[in-house]
Amino acid sequence: MGRILFSLLLAGVFALPVFGQSLQSRIESYKLANGLKVILLEDHDIPNVALYTFFRVGSRNERPGLTGVSHFIEHMMFNGTAKVGPGQFDRNMEFVGGANNAYTAQDMTAYSDWFPAAALEKMVEMEADRMQGAAFVPEVLESERGVVASERRMSTENNNAAILMENVNATSIMAHPYHWDVIGWMSDILSWKREQIQEYYKTYYAPNNAVLVLVGDFKKSTAKSLIEKYYTPIPSGKTPSAVTTVEPPQQGLKQVLVKKEAQAPLYMAVWHTPSVSQPGFYPLSLLDKILMKGESSRLYRRLVREERIALDVSGGIQETLDPYLFTVFVEAVPGADLGKIDRIVEEEMGKVVREGVTEKEVQKAINMVQNDFYRPLQTIAGLANALGQAELVNGDYQKLFSLMESYKAVTPDSIKAISSQTFTLNNKTVGNLVPEGGAQ
């Protein structure tokens, strides 16, 4: 845990400026000549370090035929370089007491390493090595292709909720690369060519397209000289071309039906929304809590408790670089009439548009956001992840410290205004998953 707060907060007073200043003043951030952005925060509570590397690449940067390749490269980053043999990255790291994981999203790919302080140099060396050194050994590549195909079967094809989401998102978004899921289409997974993968890797895996975040038990001066030593020799790459496709406005209700072996039907509705940097994002983010977070939320109360037509309700809006979707996902009770669920969802969205929400509901949503905001900051890993995500998605890690201000500026009126633009029939896509066979 970081000792990042002082007396005001200890007294239980919520004072963001203090939180921001005390933490911000301890962070050091700079860029190497090759464009690598570095963010450092010393925190000596536990004898460990969290090292996170973020690349500005995700499914947003892909194209048909290469869908899923960002995620596949995430896997191949553990499968060998000229210096470190296939699988050796993990073996070396575990031998010194470290562990790692990685994730790929629409807008970013992140690599997370958690290790004892003594392993710092080894880890910086290995991370720098694989920034441009991944070998894509043909046999290893084929084996890993099987792993990712298995991942898709598990996480999408054998998961009714995921298969419905994939269908609905692809129906709603027709032009922008958010059309496909991060995992990619199975036929693409099975047919990416080695040269295509390498070309993609070369384009996006460069210091000028990356952010390095270190939080934990180290001396800043030591960390800086290690970063200097191992990262300075890496040449910067060409600036990757911008994603220019803009999703055209939707011109009428879209519907999609998925028939699957299932015991329980599923319902989903989405509406196009602003991106994280556009006006309306934070009002919609609070609205998703008012509608769907907690048992007192409007849709939960109506669908699960009053009508008893659903087992659960979830969804909301995501922080994305380009405009994405506001989602309502309903796990229906077996045998439920999905048309009735749609009518109720439409009614509830209509109420928000016509009557708005109350001050009290806005305050409740802000309390939820505050609790969720602080909890991850207890750990060095949570801090590293939050700083890196803010740098990539919000454009600057310092925005982390004003995030709560953006939420506090939301009013019932601003929620009503963006809702009346968003929740129209022309902007909506509805998906149903209904059982084909299986017990109803």
Partner: protein
């Protein structure tokens, strides 16, 4: 994701003790102990870093193992209903109050205990603890709320069966434990749910939910004085007539092979869990077994993961774990693969069991020791992790220095102690294996392992 981390193994990690990085100080901060006159023991640690407070409590004997089989699921329903209204507040009011705080309150049961997890901003914690207290002291158990939960549970069982990866765990639990109390399904079953009544729920509550013998922990920025003032208005006033349960029987010791195939005709992968006897929470084999499991199936470069995923690309994930109870334990290994690869995968798993019994290389042992020690400090980094660890150690009859002892045990484990653990704990002839998949494609491949009992996923029960 490079790999999914199973939730179960994270929970298990929390239960594990850790390596001593600072010899002067233990891994766990030593708490202030507050004994309340009603029999509740509470531990308090001040962590002033962030304006957050976490509360954890366990009630030994109020878990699912105290359910008679015919009432399977009753403890879990009882726990859920505790937050669904008191004599002074309707369920909607409780939900509104909790959500308004932005707080989380979860009450649930494990086989050995009922657990309460409550987290909030420090400024909201007094109100959160008050709501928690009223939920424990004065639950309404309204018929209307019971009916809703009951119908959700009945529908929930059907929904579980749509996800083969989840369903296989419940089929395994049933096959392994049978009617042994440690194997009660928190979901309940069709028969027990249909005959469930609000009276049975109230009876379970009265018999089991008591502050006597319970352990709680508060970790966060609250001061000791604030906490004590708060306790006198809340948990200090908690009365409960229930009595701690009798010790539980050990988990089953399967003899011979039990093979179960569950037919899910639309599955494109076959999911399996294999289980055999493990060791108890207080068994001295614990550190060597932790090293063994780290090497066998507990981390990314484990043998299971290396052979099934890294070398052959058969699966996205393969792992093993030891689940421990006070009275014994269970070893499980699990994975999934394309239907036509299931036998190739299982053959490798069986060969790895045998290989492990012939021992690990000294460098492997060293690597696993480093790994367990290096990954331990982050498991006690957050308020909630410290609080959970404090109460779980007490519920297991251990001391707060147990993490340090455990880590010393890990440091001193050797190829010999780990090999001995492998010989004792990895399955040979006696095990339970459950596969969920498309029978038309996998049944012929599985025939060589012996006689399979085949079920349909649409059949009632697990």
């Amino acid at each position: 994701m490079k790999r999914a981390i199973p939730v179960l193994s994270l929970l298990f990690l929390l239960l594990l003790p850790l390596a001593a990085a600072q010899p002067s100080r233990g891994m766990l901060p030593l708490p202030e102990t507050i004994r309340l006159s009603n029999g509740l023991t509470l531990f308090y640690v001040r962590v002033p870093d962030l304006p957050l407070v976490s509360f954890r409590m366990v009630l030994p004997g109020a878990g699912s193992a105290a359910e008679p089989m015919e009432n399977e699921g009753v403890s879990s329903i009882m726990a859920e209903l505790l937050t669904k209204g008191t004599s002074k507040m309707k369920a909607e009011d409780v939900a509104e109050a909790l959500d308004s705080l932005g707080a989380d309150l979860k009450i649930y049961t494990t086989p050995e205990y009922m657990a309460v997890d409550a987290d909030s901003l420090a400024s909201q914690f007094p109100r959160l603890l008050e709501l928690t207290f009223h939920s424990l002291q004065d639950p309404l158990f309204a018929t209307q709320e019971f009916d809703l939960v009951k119908s959700q549970r009945i529908d929930g069982i059907k929904a579980i069966k749509d996800n083969a990866g989840y369903a296989v765990r419940l089929y395994f639990q049933r096959a392994y434990f049978g009617d042994n109390p440690l194997g009660r399904l928190s979901s309940g079953n069709e028969t027990s749910l249909n005959t469930m009544s609000v009276e049975k729920v109230k009876d379970f509550y009265k018999a089991r939910v008591t502050p006597r013998g319970a352990y709680a922990a508060v970790v966060g920025s609250l001061s000791s004085q604030e906490l004590k003032a708060l306790l006198s208005k809340t948990l200090g006033k908690w009365k409960g007539a229930g009595s701690p349960a009798a010790p539980l029987p050990p988990p089953p010791q399967p003899k011979g092979k039990t093979l179960i195939l569950v037919d899910k005709p639309d599955a494109t992968q076959a999911y399996w869990v294999l289980g055999a006897p493990g060791y108890s929470a207080n068994d001295p084999v614990t550190p060597s077994a932790a090293v063994l499991n780290t090497l066998f199936g507990g981390r990314f470069t484990s043998w299971l993961s290396t052979e099934l995923r890294i070398k052959r690309g058969l699966t996205y994930g393969a792992s093993s774990r030891f689940q421990t109870f006070l009275s014994g334990g269970v070893f499980t290994a699990s994975s999934y693969t394309k239907n036509d690869k299931i036998a190739e995968m299982l053959d490798i798993v069986f060969s790895l069991f045998e290989k492990a019994k012939s021992g690990f290389a000294p460098e492997e042992i060293e690597s696993a020791r480093n790994y367990i020690q290096g990954q331990f400090p982050p498991t006690l980094e957050s308020n909630e992790a410290i609080a959970a660890s404090l109460v779980q150690l007490m519920a297991q009859g251990k001391s707060f220095s147990w993490p340090d002892e455990y880590l010393r045990g890990v440091s001193s484990s050797t190829p010999e102690t780990v090999q001995a653990a492998a010989k004792r704990l990895l399955p040979a002839q006696d095990y339970v294996l459950v596969v969920v998949g498309k029978a038309a494609e996998i049944e012929p491949l599985l025939a060589k392992y012996g006689e399979w009992k085949v079920k349909k996923i649409t059949d009632s029960g697990f």
